[in-house]
Amino acid sequence: MTVKEIFETMDYGPAPESAAEALAWIVDQGAKFGHFIDGGFTAPGDDFTSRNPANGETLATLSQATRADVDAAVAAARKAQPKWEKLAGPGRAKYLYAIARLVQKHARLFAVLETLDNGKPIRESRDIDIPLVHRHFYYHAGMAQLMEAELPGRAALGVCGQIIPWNFPLLMLAWKVAPALAMGNTVVLKPAEYTSLSALLFADICRQAGLPRGVVNIVTGDGDVGEMIVAHDGIDKIAFTGSTEVGRRIREATAGSGKALTLELGGKSPYIVFDDADLDSAVEGLVDAIWFNQGQVCCAGSRLLVQEGIAAPFHRKLKARMDGLRLGNPLDKCVDIGAVVDPVQLAAITALVESNREGETYRANVEMPVEGCFYPPTLITGLAPAARLMQEEIFGPVLVSTTFRTPAEAVALANNTRYGLAASLWTENVNLALDMAPQLVAGVVWVNASNLFDAAAGFGGRRESGFGREGGWEGLSAYTRPAAATRPLAPVTAFAGDKGPADPLDRTAKLYIAGKQARPDGGYCRNVYGKSGALLGQAPLANRKDVRNAVEAAQAAAGWSRTSGHLRAQILYYIAENLSARGDEFASRINALTGARSGQKEVEATIERLFSAAAWADKFDGQVHNVPIRGVALAMREAVGTIGALCPDEAPLLGLVSIMAPAIAMGNRMVLVASEPFPLAACDFYQVLETSDLPAGVVNILTGAHGELASPLAGHHDIDAVWSFSSTDLGAEIERTSAGNLKRTWVNNGRARDWRQDHSRAFLEAATEVKNIWVPYGE
């Protein structure tokens, strides 16, 4: 076209970023890559290719890791780990700083390579992905520097196996590697097989930074390699980002292994537009929400909920905006939407959309490239929550939409999903925004924004979007453990006996459900004997229906989570007061049950635990993170929800209260299974609860066999977390069964805990989820 013709049409023309330097780098490496193990590259195999999805061209040949490769990588990481940890925070900070600087210096090379390999527009890799990568290393250089001072008593986990997805290849690497290294861990990382190149360039950067051999190891290959990492005995922690389906399999595969696990999985995140929103900005926000990275974003705002009165004009504006999006060569600096990562993904998106028969489908009126993996921006309006596309993650540039009438209905629709990763809400009303944000089940909420990320703010999900946080102070617990050594926990068994009761006047112990004493559903109980064989009484044997009833009661007590910390503190103090009044009675009961003489001390410690929890109830504050926007990121601590817990066998009262008190202080509701051998102290204790103004259903107490109740608890889809401190080692069963709804688990792995010590902080952490609420402001 001539200048004169363009002057008339005012079209945009091609504005390609050069691929020359990135292609030259690939050629310099021989266009064939081995694995990066123990500071060097292995001899490259000829196993699979990495392609540019925009044109199908082969970029390089990659190696599929064998078991021997994974073994070698784990061995190198294991060997390097003690020295790396001993280097201490300030020593590690220097390396992380060097990596940050080097990524920054090679920013354009990384960006172009990422775009070639993944298909994302160069604008995104250049302006978003890579800047976030070096930001993450800078931030965690700081965390390494501060570790000893700010995280006393925490130690590295050891060797971390990290498996990352193809949608943000280098950024996900940074999210995994930076905190792991900062906290003194070493890593074996597997990039996705579609997009390994930037990780291999990163390996090169590690060498340039002089990072000690073995601290970072990178093995390439498909899901089989991931499985080898997950199953490897030499690995202490698995961190996975990817699909919920694979996350579930990893949860099952690691069950009982003692490996720490964090999962960042799928989502179907709501994008809520109220009628007082700046509609044009909300439309533009959707461009960042669902047409960012071709919609291949776990936290994509993929479910549009619009207030009914503005739905028509909003959809009209949205369609007009969609028509203005530009698809094409991802290296073109004038393109909004690039290529879907692979023909397989393109086929999956196409099939999902074509399977839909409901609503109205609008495909953007845009020019489509003739070759390559491209999918047009698509909007499907008029879908009901029951529609498959309203529930299932599409992982493509497809937005589905429905309407709502009231804020309460918006919350209900937003939370009507198995996922819980992110949410956006648009309103100019600060009351509405700050009322909505805590009610949305999500790890991240953006107010009048979408897809804001920063190293200083934790990212992660609830429900089947996974668990654990990446970024911020809250992200560090995923890469540390308590430094103190632990010892094995011996099974505690009930005493047998055949004598008659010490006191002929019968006392009937029941279950405690919904604030009422309840007979067990099965109608069975078992005799409880003291050490000398005297009959102390009968404890009910709860079954799965009692678990069901207790969970229903706990759900009905959801209002507890909305009460103030001050109120919860008063109730905890009152429980302590009422327990103290009956202290001698509880002490003798404990002595009778355990056959020891520690009853008095156990009661005193229990009262202290209640006081600690009451103290924390209004003090376990969230944070305001220092993110680089004009605005705040509020890291709010929210109750996990309903927690099922198998209480310690060895300390029948103190163990139960050590778990219960911090959890209810944070607003959780509990289904507690009392000490299996010594259940009667818990049955006495519900009388204390009954007299202490605790609302019905906040604490429910069951007695019975831990081995029988673990599975119904771990498998119950309306329980958010299951903890086990039982002396029966049920970790494997609980973790495996929890995969159903990916509830949080905390099991003792057969290790003992000294209940005389105050572990409140650990319980407070486990009893809360950090939600980051981003509130940009400015009038």
Partner: protein, 330 residues
Amino acid sequence: MQSPTQTASPHQLPQTLEPRNPGMDLDLDWVRGQQANRSAIERRAQSLPGRRSLKKEHQAAWLLKAISCIDLTTLSGDDTEGRVRRLCAKARQPVDAGMLARLGLPGLTTGAVCVYHDMIACAVDALRGSGIPVAAVSTGFPAGLSPLALRIEEIRHSVAAGAAEIDIVISRRHVLKGDWQALYDEMRSFREACGDAHVKAILATGELGTLRNVARASLVCMMAGADFIKTSTGKESVNATLPVSLVMGRAIRDYFDRTGYRVGYKPAGGISKAKDALTYLALIKDELGDRWLQPDLFRFGASSLLGDIERQLEHHLTGHYSASYRHAMA
């Protein structure tokens, strides 16, 4: 929403191709319902230059388009007839004739020349036969605080002197007090005084305090019959910005969607780099559509922008970076 692009007309008078915006009754519900979320708008504005890029012939063509949309302006206390005649000569021949010929656009001129009232007569004389309209700033420019009757009378004088376009300033106090009726009435009276001359409403956005006020004032002025809405006098401490342009552009789009009338947009002040001009044009293209990329619906109020564009065009033609002394001054 977007209608097909029409070919450029030699006539760059506003609304010679379009029915003129007659205005409408003041719709206070619509005005008060306007929202503008500053952070979101700034994010959009910030990401725009990274989303759009123009290279080679496309960049040259777009820069030439920018020239055709410039209201070449002098608004200084020391303006003289000689100074204004030089400016008009530059408007007639904004770029070296040889360069324009090589670019295939001989005869390209700026969109208009913009002066104070006392300079209208000589500008009209200097531009005679060129088809370039003379725009006059009016109504007690830049503060707009002289008596209303005099402000209206000033418009009549300027129209009588030959100005085809009148750039009025609104009373910022009406906006700051939320007195939309007063703003509407004032704008209506200015429009009426303009008669057939086209009226651009300068909002002085740098003095309106909030983007929400910018959105609401934009709507009120369009309801009262403005042919163009314009950001600034060039005399405020903050003049045209991308966020303000987004807000005003979106108001224009909403007004068109509701009424079917296209109102023009003029960012003024602070746009001095060729690259910035391209970003503004991209913003208009993406938010309002191609139809608005013509001088009858889009103008830059600028004085030094042209010089930078000339240098970039020479670079395009020669491959070498240019120097300002190689291009004729105004």
